[in-house]
Amino acid sequence: MSSPSRAAGDTIHAPVGALARFLRRYVFSTDHKIIGLQYFFLALLAVTVGMILSLLMRFHLVWPAAHLPFVAGGIMTPEQYLAVMTMHGTIMVFFVLTTAPQSAFGNYFLPLQIGAPDMAFPRLNMLSFWLILLAFVVMMAAFVVPGGAPISGWTAYTPLSGLGEIAGPGEGMGQSLWAFSILIFCVGSLLGSINFIATTIDMRAPGMTLMRMPLTVWAWFVTAILSLLAFAVLFAAGILLVLDRVAGTSFFMPAGLVVNGALQTNGGGSPLLWQHLFWFFGHPEVYIAILPGMGVVSHILANFSRKPVFGYRAMAFAICAIGFLGFLVWGHHMFVSGMNPYSGLTFSLLTVSIGVPSAVKTFNWLGTLWGGRIQFHSPMLFAIGFVSFFVTGGLSGIFLAQPAVDTTLHATYYVVAHFHIVMGVAAIFGILAATYYWFPKMFGRSMNESLGKIHFWLTFVGVYCIFMPMHFVGIAGGIRRYADSTGAAYLAGLQPLHRFMTIAALVTAAAQVIFFCNLFRSLRRGAPAAVNPWNGTTLEWIAGSPPPADNFSGRFPSVYRGPYEYSVPGAASDFWPQNIPPGLNPGESTEQRYAG
């Protein structure tokens, strides 16, 4: 890593040990950039664990008798399969899809893009990260405690998750650790979201009006609002779940429950209540994962099409509309819970209405590309890949929004394919696009373009090879969550498809090795990057690469124009950075442009 920036306010008094200095700069730092990197590397670690878990599952589905690494006893039992599935979902949703797009890139670039020296509450920011890291450690501990990891899925449906050890291995200590980890994660996320919102509201540079904010900032801003409102609800639900588990209350535990021949003493509660509270968080969580990706993609498409974002205002309002509607549709996760059909109809109508702002976004992305001078750099390829997956996964969502269709497909691989494409893969493509795009800014070096393109094509094709056949498996009745479907005659015909998907998953995972090699090699040996390698217009590109401790070396920018002024007719250069005053032609002055 080349000379990363120093923590803000870090005054060094001799004699200070090198270790103490290192700890203060890179470990207990209050600098938003360092904290962003800490989140980034935490997410990298988490995604590696999550990916290994998914490969274990895919391998077991095809070769159920195979001996697998990391599996106690070698051959995976059904309970172990459920534990792996639970941890895969939990790690990916919380520690990758929530952590990387919002906490990592948002932390690093939101203050830069609005021209601020740091986040509003730097120490709170540091606390947020340490809480999230603690949550990750507690979650990982579930693997090694007696009984192992929990088996109730990332949604931890009650009563299974509330019963304790009697419900199966992992439901004792493992499930408790899961709940504690989620509670800690909630607190970290809440503190983080307060910081994001306050920073956006109060720390913008002079002239940075809301309608001059990059769409990335809009996305992080709205996502933070969703986090604030949603994680507070999950926190409340988590407390009630923990009380049911450890204090004998019965918020979620139904009466007359007999488990393994034993009548449970607590009762009278509502398992559905957990589902409502969980999904009131869970659906906004989907947008917490995807909205930052939408922002990044809009940003990158404009940059590499050398065109302004088509319909900037509509894009900003669409982000707000998706965020708002995201709070009204949680019931579509519960169509099969026996809810009143009229409730189902209401949730269904609200769900399909999200198609409107989603379509606005897709249309405007295509409008941005249309007629542009497109530069197919790695970040651009991943951004276009994002649009492709968002459309594909979004379309299957329209079908699943119909209660009658969902009733048939809910327990099948169709749903797995849908949410992996639209929420998982699309968000990951957003993360990858952001990584390739901002790597020069974060580390002052460039990633290898050829490796980036190989990585893109292998991943893009690989992911479609995994998840397109999965829709057919679902429609054919392939039941999700089953550890082994080889015993059911009617599912036997689907095994060749499963085998194909598993091979595709192995190839796609191998392609990620290329990414990791490129990333870590470029950290040390990548070609030195210019301040503004992509000829971008927004304020992060006037700061140094990497930016100094106060981001702008004391020369804080004022903002005079919108965020995407590319190819302005009559300009000497094809881009106008936001800090160029009117009357000054950007092609004529570099002095004004760069602060770093």
Partner: protein
């Protein structure tokens, strides 16, 4: 165009400083690049209240569902009478806080400190009162897991008490030492916003406990 007027409204809401001195600036950014503006602390506190409110709303909706559940095993409980007194104490502390802040604005710092301290002490009385209420509940053998009504009683009062504990800590810190980044005006304002919120929140919880027991 309605969208424009919404944007204009948002723009006016964004930040206390305008982008003065920027020829093309139309009122946007709140930060004058001279470090963290004081408005950040107010914004942060209001946002925190939003999160806390959502937390309690989730508990309240759980209470609504659990109480109205078909064939519910809900049993009415007798609430400790001291809750009424506690409510009066917490409400009174809001008024003493208002008085304290008024005195600060008028410049009489000693009187401000006096009433600020009274507020913190009233907050402590409230907490002691809540502990007495719990002991009275224990005495009638109503524990956390006894029945849903008692479960919610403990969850609501304990969650609120923890927030009050934080509020008292804030009052003590603001009253006893100069703030590092905040002006005294901002620090007292932030603490006051939180404290008044806790009082209103308690009135809501108390109403729920009384009406819905």
């Amino acid at each position: 165009m309605p969208a424009d007027s919404v944007v204009e409204l948002l723009e006016r809401g964004g930040g206390s400083h305008s982008g003065g001195g920027v020829p093309c600036g139309d009122g946007g950014g709140g930060n004058d690049n001279q470090g963290t503006p004081q408005s950040v602390y107010i914004t942060g506190m209001i946002l925190a209240l939003g999160g806390i409110l959502m937390f309690f709303m989730a508990l309240i909706s759980a209470w609504v569902v659990r109480r109205g559940f078909p064939n519910s095993d809900w049993q009415s409980i007798e609430l400790p009478h001291i809750l009424g007194l506690n409510t009066l104490i917490l409400t009174a502390s809001s008024f003493t806080l208002v008085r304290s802040r008024r005195l600060l604005v008028r410049g009489s710092e000693a009187d401000y400190r006096h009433w600020w301290g009274v507020t913190a002490i009233l907050g402590m009385f409230f907490l002691v009162g809540q502990i007495i209420a719990w002991r009275q509940m224990f005495a009638t053998r109503l524990f956390l897991a006894t029945n849903p009504a008692s479960s919610f009683f403990y969850v609501f009062t304990a969650a609120h008490a923890l927030h009050v504990l934080g509020g008292i800590a804030a009052l003590v810190v603001v009253g006893s030492r100069p703030a590092q980044h905040l002006t005294l005006e901002t620090a007292t304002r932030v603490a006051a916003i939180y404290w008044h919120f806790l009082a209103v929140l308690w009135l809501l919880i108390f109403t729920i406990l009384v009406v819905g027991r």
